[in-house]
Symmetry: C2
Subunit: 351 residues, 2 copies
């Protein structure tokens, strides 16, 4: 079978010297991007995928729909601030929001491991149902598969989502322009550090809560106010740094940010120091960056700050005409360094 090998189906294996999947291939860093660029993009060969966006924009007559999917394999299933169910609904809502779309409909695909407690399944499904209801999205179609004991990890959830695009200009990496201002919707690193604290059994006076939340209403408030949004990106696997590098590389601009402008709460900073993590690489589940033209930056920031999920919004940098495809960060002592993606894995199975 699979004897047909047309010329377009040529991608080199091994990729970057790896002939087997490593945990890092799912980590949101350089290796994951090399797998996408080296295997999925050439084989699927689709302009939608090549746009390197959080979702695809599909045209149906005069209407534009956004379509996206994510699987959720987070471990542990329950963590301070959420669980795999809230994550699976919020995460896909956020990917639609990053396309400038109003999320409307979700699908849910469950892969359950033999022996998984039905009571726990009920708790997860309740979380999904409640989170969907709170965000006015409907779960309209689903599927359940069961795999043998030892071939899963309790429960994996896939959600796909459909939203209707409300932004009147394309919101995507291709929209980024020199001189754009980069806004960050709040403090970073909470989701990743909440997960790792549970895994490592770290006890803090104030436990770190995940920022897991659906930011669609915040994004829609910017669109409705007429803010000219050029690009949005949520800061999941790979964190703020990877999101910035992805956009800089996809659009061949230079993004320059100020380290001192990036808010990190004290217990996240403390946990990062203990564990040797850099907060700019730690995953978030309710934070995003927005690229807007300078004339709209102040108004966008003030709108964001008036929304509970954007109360800590700040300007962290701008798009320069400098060296294309890189991200630079000026530190507190004034030195500037190039920010790259991590090549490997910082925190596996974070979402």
């Amino acid at each position: 079978m699979n004897s047909e090998k047309s010329p377009e189906f040529c991608c080199p294996v091994p990729i970057d010297g790896y002939d087997r999947i490593m945990m890092a291939h799912g980590g949101g860093g350089r290796l994951m991007h090399r797998l996408i660029e080296g295997l999925f993009l050439p084989l699927f060969n689709s302009p939608y995928l090549s746009a390197r966006h959080d979702g695809a924009i599909l045209e149906f007559g005069a209407r534009k729909l956004a379509f996206t999917t994510d699987s959720y394999v987070v471990h542990p299933l329950f963590f301070p601030g959420g669980d795999i169910g809230t994550l699976a609904v919020n995460g896909t809502i956020n990917d639609l929001a990053m396309c400038g779309a109003r999320p409307l409909y979700l699908s849910a695909g469950f892969i359950l491991e033999e022996g998984f407690p039905i009571e726990t399944l009920r708790t997860v499904v309740e979380s999904m149902s409640r989170t969907a209801r709170e965000n006015e999205v409907q779960l309209v179609t689903g599927d359940t598969k069961v795999v043998d004991r030892g071939k899963g990890d309790g429960i994996y959830v896939n959600t796909a989502g459909i939203g209707i695009v409300e932004a009147n200009r394309p919101v995507s990496p291709a929209g980024v322009r020199p001189s754009d201002v980069v806004l960050l919707s709040g403090d970073i690193g909470r989701h990743g550090m909440a997960i790792i604290s549970v895994r490592e059994g770290l006890a803090f006076e104030n436990p770190i809560e995940s920022d897991c939340a659906a930011v669609a209403s915040l994004v829609l408030s910017l669109i409705q106010a007429g803010i000219e949004i050029h690009c949005l990106r949520d800061l999941t696997r790979g964190g703020l740094a990877s999101a910035l590098v992805e956009i800089a590389e996809a659009t061949q601009v230079e993004v320059a940010i100020q380290e001192t402008a990036i808010p990190v709460c004290n217990n996240v900073r403390g946990a990062c120091e203990i564990l040797g993590f850099d907060p700019i690489y730690v995953a978030n589940e309710g934070r995003f960056i927005a690229f807007v033209p300078p004339r709209d930056a102040e108004r966008a920031l003030s709108l964001m700050r008036s929304h509970p999920l954007g109360a800590g919004a700040v300007e962290i940098g701008a798009v320069n005409k400098g060296t294309a495809g890189i991200v630079t960060m000026k530190s507190s002592i004034g030195a500037s360094r190039i920010v790259d993606m991590l090549s490997g894995e910082q925190l596996p199975r974070i979402c």
Copy 2:
């Protein structure tokens, strides 16, 4: 967390005496339906899900879209007639076709196990890409997650799909009418027996090939010819029997079929006899049933037979005014028996 327990969130656990997930909860039979009815439907509480259809029909202005999802956990990954990649594309295309829709766009979510060979991943992705291209659907958005060794089984694939509804009346279980004729698109049991033959190492003179195929073009030819299709259902997990029982129960009609009318090829029949399976419960991946009014039955049958994937189409029964919610089958010796779903699991991880 999850402390909110509103009254609508009441569903009894254990379900049917089970407090843990069993393989049979994914088998397409009675236990899976009890899990759906006892847990997912009450918690998600959506009219779309309650329709018990292969997909949801969503209205966007004058256009109706079909939206569906399935995860694929088939074992082995490769089998005569297909692999997990062809299955993941064809299966979701077929679910859209069963809604009377033209499949247009797919998402793909991969859950990869650490250590999975990248060469095998490439083969699967090539299959998906080729199958999508052959059926004029586009893979437009995706996601990759990696789980630790021992927490997966190489690769699981989720696809969600969007299609545009072309039927000018609803194609769904609710459309079934007394006196409708039941058409079957071809011989049954090939997918399930192809999988089990590989697993059990059964060698036949003519190996059993899966019927894995996308039937959308066949369904669309019926719609374009103006056939009044009342309901369609593909015969995957649980086979022909479960599909008929699902529809009979959902619409509270009696469906009466003739056992002698159901085509089963000789090597499938032989393998079923050896292994003690009844072909009417064995999964198919390229077969469906159609409920049409008597006046359209002959023309529909002749159209189906003119398509390569419907060459063996037959009339197998009709909808009666008898006892509601049951399926009866008349055997070769003229005796009639009630056909029920299997309660348990005949063939795990068939798709």
